[in-house]
Chain length 533, copies 2
């Protein structure tokens, strides 16, 4: 093996050793997003801490999930004048009931518009406050100096609230994203070409093989997302970019200049689409084998005999569905021979069957991994979906908000889920769909196929995340994997200038040829005339 | 862990075990390309054989590198009526001298056109013969039946000559490509969106950050490649598709429907560009640590003292450069304090220095991995370039043919190589460039940086190739990783139908609004008139 100079060689050996032993001690500055996003980020933080890295988490004073004290990180708390909690439970309950009202057709067009307007204003407000956190940091010169002095190796952040890229730019640090969505849409759309003809826009709930109408809808959502980004989200950060870095620094360029995107996506689930070399897919990185159930739950599960058990959960955010809907569901559950474990918060339905156990919380992953579980009634949040895929449990989906429609559609297209419209749900339709999943073996078979594909990887997704985070630390970035093509003007990116030039040149050549031909004809005519005269 | 039904579970356990032990015995049908491509394919075959797979190689009777008998595979020999050997040495010597003549400006425009015409005719002839191999196979019903009966798990092929996809389609087998180029260009252009504004077309020798002129050139090459593909290459295979599978099966669709592309590319070398989930990058998979040199060579190398050694090789295809050029090179070599090992076939230059050792063959990888080697004078073939990157040796490039210009440009842009124009080479320019590389430490440093990035991978590229080949065998394909978007009509793929529809709709709305406004104005005017009267 060729020797390479002292420093590089030692660094290489160290890095290989460190990778093997997990002992490369780096300093990582983390910008998380609160709420359910934090669950994902915290998993990475715990793992990185176990690999001997020093983690510093930036949180706002009113942060809800991100605690000030942790055995895994030290924190920097930024006081903010006022705060909306974006994953506040009461907010979501009222939000959901409004949506259900609109979807059930009980709302006028005015209600719809005012609701949509409210949503956009809320989104803008969230980003205004997230950008305010950056302002507060930049104002605090002592803090910025101490961050500079700490000599971090890396900024790790969730670009759902992307203020951290400005801080990273100021500190000249490489950045790794832990990402499912950015600002107002799909992270992919920022980095990779995404032909709208087969790449579904986020929130559009269309498959990759679309009808003409679906393609029109997809195009509409694409422009909608661009508008939301241009007028609602980006202005907050662009303003700061101009203020702190001058007019040449665009917020979108900062987003696109980051080193590695750890995308919480797996192609067992997501439709195949163009990607870039600096996107690493870690979808399902949180999945792990099931542990034994608590003895009372195990006893309940075993009591189901050969029929098995159905479990139902609508995630952490939704306290409860309206009573009329839960009543329909309870009635349906009462009619199946399976036992049911239902994570239900709120008033107990009157018509609950004897086979149904209501719980305030359930060890979801351990249940999904239990051989007696036959189906999972779920809202379609990303984490639950990946756990279902990992354990191969078919899903009856009831999407309520956000990406849940997109998520469940993907399982449905692959024959691993049935999706119900909550607003039209009756005990009859719920029962029929559930029985369909329990009795038609194709759902189970398709989910198992997804599971076996998902588990068959050269490297488990969590290890892949650690590898690339440490890769960026070892090499102080991953510039060779990212394109800076987005910095081209849009007409250059799409080659419109070259195409125009070629068309003009061709026309000029044709015109010259035509003129010469015309001249030649005239001459010939004149000569013939002269001859005739 | 959730149990999954007997068969699937056992298959999963077996596959995991097999993967760990390399003992999953699959049956693989291989369609190689002769010449230097075979070197790469053979490496995979040897590895797969070591992992207990049974390999069957399809070769033509006149095959040159692909032997009939091997300890690693059994072969099927197809007799062909007539054969051009595409990597025939004499052919390349005359080809090169013609190119040099043209590049030196010694040829008229007519010579140039006739030469280019000859090249295209040659290309067409190669593909006609390659497609003839498929015809001969399909004609031989006994052979086809025996292939069917063997129940292969996979077709592994080099799509440089893509006839194998038709056989795979006929046998309904999953396909893995071992690919650097397809038919008439870059494999990427078939599978992933490739904006011409920053993705260099193969053979164009422009970087990813282009000037306007370079972008015009790139666009021109892009159209040229499309034309070559449409009129020179594809017709041979499309004809067979129609003949054997009916008018609905397009050759390009077969190419795009394959499961995994093992792309002999690494982004340490290639510019970052869009890619698809079913492309696996195995660039440099052939690289391995250096072995000890034969004692006489080691003695020569050691005799160089602190100055070290320069090595030169122009690959397997080129027997020799014209005598006037080798003489200039020899003169330059004679003036450096380093020792030189020069792989030289043909007449020995008169002015050879005492420091220069001519050899007929050299253990290139072992030399590149030797700490005394200071620079590599090379033509820029892919294999040599990756070996140079792997061992961190800076390159003085003299591109002669094909992708060698593209390859060396990539190293030059990264500051790891200098590139010379062979047609303008003098001993002075050669000496200056070589001294530059030997004396300016940045070349060495940049190459070492590329080397450390290239070696830092979660999985060595060769293991990655084996993983994905076996993945396709385990799951009978990898359909979830590939898009079938190319089957859309071009106007649908580019959303032109949707855009037209939206524009027409918008115009209709505007026209209606304008008409109504006009009507309203007329009414108002008339009313006012009536009032005034």
């Amino acid at each position: 093996m060729r020797s390479i100079p002292g420093g590089t060689f030692v660094a290489l050996i160290l890095s290989v050793l460190a990778n093997a032993l997990g002992s490369y001690a780096g300093k990582i500055l983390v910008f998380p997003v609160d709420g359910s996003h934090w669950v994902n980020m915290n998993l990475l933080i715990e793992g990185l801490h176990a690999r001997n890295h020093n983690i510093t988490v930036v949180r706002s004073a009113s942060s809800w999930y991100v605690k000030e004290k942790s055995p895994h990180y030290t924190s920097i708390t930024i006081p903010l004048p006022e705060v909306i909690n974006i994953e506040d439970e009461d907010f979501f309950v009222s939000f959901l009931s409004k949506i259900l009202e609109i979807q059930r057709g009980g709302a006028s067009i005015l209600t719809f518009i005012s609701f949509y307007w409210e949503m956009l204003t809320g989104l803008s407000e969230i980003h205004r406050q997230a950008s305010q956190l950056v302002v507060e940091m930049f104002k605090n010169q002592q803090l910025m100096q101490s961050l500079q002095d700490t000599q971090f190796d890396l900024v790790l952040m969730d670009p759902g609230l992307p203020g951290g890229v400005l801080v990273a730019h100021q500190l000249q640090l490489p950045v790794v994203f832990n990402v499912r969505w950015i600002t107002s849409g799909e992270g992919h759309f920022v980095v990779a070409p995404s032909p709208v003809s087969y790449v579904p826009t986020s929130g559009c709930a269309v498959p990759d093989k679309m009808t003409f109408t679906q393609r029109v809808k997809n195009m509409f959502h694409y422009f909608l997302n661009i508008c939301i980004d241009t007028f609602v989200v980006s202005p907050h950060y662009n303003r700061l970019c101009i203020q702190y870095f001058g007019p040449d620094t665009k917020f979108y360029h900062l987003l696109q200049s980051i080193d590695i995107w750890l995308m919480r996506v797996d192609f067992v689930f997501e439709f195949p689409r163009p990607t870039m070399p600096n996107i690493v897919y870690i979808g399902g990185f949180q999945c792990k084998p099931a542990k034994a159930l608590p003895s009372d739950l195990e006893e309940f599960v075993q009591s189901s005999g050969d029929h098995g058990v159905v479990i139902m959960s609508l995630g952490t955010l939704i306290k409860g569905l309206p009573a009329d809907i839960t009543s329909e569901i309870a009635a349906a559950f009462a009619q199946i021979p399976q036992k049911v474990i239902w994570r239900h918060i709120g008033e107990q339905p009157q018509n609950l069957g004897n086979n149904t156990l209501l719980v305030q919380w359930m060890p979801q992953n351990d249940l999904l991994g239990h051989p007696k579980i036959k189906a999972f009634v779920a809202h379609g949040g990303t984490n639950g979906i990946y756990e279902a895929i990992y354990h191969g449990v078919p899903v009856l989906g009831m999407p309520l908000l956000f990406d849940q429609f997109d998520n469940l559609l993907r399982l449905e297209v692959r024959g691993a889920a049935k999706v119900l419209d909550v607003t039209k749900l009756t005990s009859q339709s719920f029962l029929q769909a559930l029985q369909n999943i329990l009795q038609d073996p194709s759902y189970q078979r398709n989910m198992e196929r997804l599971s076996s594909l998902h588990r068959d990887k050269p490297l488990p997704p969590l290890d892949s995340a650690f590898f690339w985070i440490e890769f960026v630390m070892r090499h102080k970035g991953a510039a060779h994997l990212r394109t800076e093509s987005i910095k081209l003007p849009w007409y250059t990116y799409h080659s419109l200038d070259v195409i125009s030039f070629l068309i003009v040149t061709m026309l000029a050549i044709l015109a010259t040829a035509a003129a010469m031909f015309h001249l030649l004809c005239c001459r010939l005519c004149r000569m013939r005339k002269l001859k005739q005269e």
